[in-house]
């Protein structure tokens, strides 16, 4: 880390990292939301062996979502070091207990999503299979809710002390 800080100011480095974390979060949010919408509104079977086209190819996004989710979790874990010392302590001093509690819960939510990723990825390898259609749908929705919750709580924490705050 000291090598990096000899080229760039420490505050600037963490701000860049937080901004990249935000950009990846927006991408992940968009992909997982579209996929959740796709599973909630599946293609309709029509007469003559035709189907309505889905708004997006849900299956092809699964690997991308899994990879970005892991990247985001790793990046969040890295930034969490700075959060623990530079953000959370002043939060507690200012009695922003709801913000701290929500962020603590975010750690658990992200972790639960992380544990589900192998199963989520596996279910999407055979998107046409009816065998796991129900669980595939709900795992995808659960993952989307995890990402949404993490995004919103992360945004609130960033507003307290982060990029542009």
């Amino acid at each position: 880390m000291s090598i990096i800080f000899s080229f760039i100011r420490e505050d600037t480095f963490w701000s860049i990292l937080l901004f990249v974390h935000f950009l990846l979060a927006v991408g992940l949010l968009a992909a997982v939301t579209l996929q959740a919408v796709a599973v909630l509104m599946p293609a309709r079977q029509m007469a003559g062996g035709f189907v309505d086209r889905n708004p997006m190819p849900a299956a092809s996004y699964a690997t991308l979502i899994a990879v970005v989710y892991v990247l985001q979790a790793l990046m969040g874990a890295w930034i969490y070091i700075k959060y623990r010392t530079y953000v959370r302590i002043p939060m507690e001093e200012l009695r922003r207990f709801w913000t701290v509690g929500s962020f603590e819960f975010k750690e658990h939510v992200v972790t639960m999503g992380l544990g589900l990723l192998p199963a989520y990825w596996y279910f999407w390898q055979q998107p046409a299979s009816a065998e796991h259609a129900g669980v595939r749908r709900w795992v995808t929705i659960f993952l989307a809710l995890c990402v949404w919750y993490s995004f919103l709580v992360g945004h609130v924490a960033n507003d307290f002390r982060g990029v542009g705050s």
Partner: protein
């Protein structure tokens, strides 16, 4: 706005003569991968919740010093961070559990999943029940009952009884449902543990 669906190809997968044929090595690998992924998805949130509640991190990170210490270490200079340690320990344990699951028969795997999920509910419930008994009901010095190992006895027996009465069909149907029941249950437990320190403060 429409696309054709190859009906012949689509239905051939469900053809009974194909389904009853001996599974190829690719199908066996896919089934093992599925077993591994689903078991990992059930075991990881369960173990993470247990390790968090017991505060069993594999290591402790001290962000101010940049030090990594094995197992749980109290605060030195600055706050200790346990989260990484819980995740790594849960992931490693779940990896082992999922690996074992691939060599166990499907029937026993589903039974074992029911057993351990029920045990995860009954063990803390039994401990809470014992503590309530000690404080509110006991007319003698019952402090020796305040132990996780005493609570383990009714929990293990209760889980065995429940598993015995759960039919093979229900265990089969429940198996993938645990993928949602366990993380949501874990989040309820972990969220409840945050109420007092943060949300009701």
């Amino acid at each position: 706005m429409t696309q054709t669906l190859d009906v012949g190809e689509g239905f051939s997968r469900f053809d009974s003569s194909h389904a009853k044929a001996a599974p190829t090595s690719t199908e066996q690998s896919s089934a093992k991968l599925g077993t591994f992924a689903i078991t990992f998805g059930i075991a990881f949130p369960l173990l993470y919740t247990v390790y968090e509640r017991l505060n069993w991190p594999l290591f402790t990170y001290h962000p101010v010093l940049g030090n990594l210490d094995f197992w749980r270490q109290s605060a030195g200079v600055g706050p200790p961070m346990f989260w990484y340690g819980w995740i790594v320990l849960a992931a490693a344990s779940a990896f082992v559990v999922a690996g074992i699951a691939t060599i166990v028969s499907g029937h026993w795997l589903r039974r074992a999943t029911v057993y351990f999920c029920v045990l995860a509910v009954l063990w803390p419930a039994a401990l809470t029940g014992l503590r309530i008994f000690i404080v509110d009901w006991a007319t003698f010095d019952a402090d020796f009952l305040n132990s996780v190992w005493v609570a383990a006895i009714p929990a293990f027996v209760g889980a065995a009884v429940v598993t015995y009465y759960v039919s093979a069909r229900l265990a089969d149907r429940l198996w993938t449902s645990w993928l949602l029941i366990v993380p949501i249950g874990g989040l309820v437990v972990l969220g409840y543990s945050l109420l007092q320190p943060w949300f009701l403060r």
